[in-house]
């Protein structure tokens, strides 16, 4: 499977994603520079974490005007797979590819810690190898990961099954105490109505090797690869 990892000025998780895709999983990797409109035939676009364009004005606000994002939008509109993590999730929201916005964390502090997530559906290309309700242990690292959407949007997301990950405790229980940033309904990740664009605040690329303390992030990558192979051979 061919992954394209987008690099904006200020992106910081691009090499971590690249390492996992190329070295850990042996998949084809292409970095996509923000000025490049050509997606080079990738099967999945990754928008990594960081501070694209310094996060000037608002997180992700300037990144959405970059040439590569025009192509990513077109790619997503035609069913292409897009995965945004952390700043990439913020970029997806600012671009309108996902609804809502990410606010400053409830306590006003940057949080950098392990978190637990429950996956709510495994019928997506991103989650096929996950078990619904079984918590994943994946790190977070952000100052503005407090997901917000108005009540009408929230109810549409919930009814449409678009909430994919919620913060939980180690037993998979969703509660205010297990919510590290104040996200409404404990939302850690969501998917668009088409199921091909996923945004999440946690960092799957930082827990894909045992030496880094955990490998739950691999479930996301392996789900994608398995689904991708199914599509490619179908």
């Amino acid at each position: 499977m061919k992954f394209g990892v987008v690099v904006f000025p200020g992106t910081w998780s691009d090499r971590d994603f690249g390492w996992v895709i190329d070295r850990v999983l042996g998949q084809e990797l292409r970095y996509l520079w923000h000025k490049d409109r050509d997606l080079h035939g990738v099967d999945c676009v990754v928008l990594p974490g960081g501070f694209a364009y310094g996060d000037y004005l608002r997180c992700g606000a300037i990144a959405r005007f970059s040439p590569v994002m025009e192509s990513v939008r077109d790619f997503a509109d035609h069913g292409g797979l897009v995965l945004g993590s952390c700043n990439g999730f913020q970029v997806l929201c600012e671009s309108g590819l996902l609804p809502g916005a990410l606010l400053r964390n409830r306590e006003g502090r940057f949080v950098c810690q392990w978190s637990h997530l429950v996956c709510e559906r495994n019928d997506l290309v991103f989650t096929g190898l996950m078990t619904v309700g079984k918590p994943l242990r994946i790190p977070i690292s952000h100052g503005q990961g407090n997901y917000f959407a108005d009540p009408a949007t929230l109810s549409r997301l919930e009814q449409g099954g678009q909430v994919v990950f919620r913060y939980s405790d180690a037993e998979g229980r969703v509660s205010r105490g297990a919510n590290p940033n104040g996200s409404v309904h404990g939302i850690a990740g969501l998917v668009n109505a088409g199921g091909n664009v996923l945004g999440l605040m946690p960092h799957p690329e930082r827990c894909a090797e045992a030496g880094l303390g955990g490998t739950d992030g691999l479930l996301l990558f392996r789900s994608l690869i398995e689904a991708g192979l199914g599509v490619l051979t179908a």
Binding site: L57, G100, A101, L103, F148, G182
Partner: protein, 84 residues
């Protein structure tokens, strides 16, 4: 023409910066402060002398970039260049 744009978090949005500043003010004895909202202030220099046209353009700027309508409100004033 100059546009003076103020962007603030919507009232329904939690504003930890504003809450922290409010606590600081209350701590200093300014107990009459019951709410603080921290936002952004932008000054735009415009090559446009017509107030109606400028207003319509700045409105579009706010909607397309300067504010995120999901979480922020905006308002602006136009200020004519000083007479030469």
């Amino acid at each position: 023409m100059r546009a003076l744009v103020v962007v603030t978090p919507k009232l329904v949005v939690n504003d930890p910066q504003g809450n922290t500043v409010q606590q600081g003010l209350n701590f200093l004895g300014f107990t009459e402060v019951s709410r603080v909202r921290v936002g952004k202030y932008l000054e735009l220099e415009l090559s446009e002398a017509d107030r109606t046209r400028a207003s319509s353009r700045v409105e579009q700027m706010c909607q397309q970039l300067l504010a995120n309508h999901v979480i922020e409100d905006y308002r602006f004033e136009l200020e004519a260049d000083p007479a030469p």
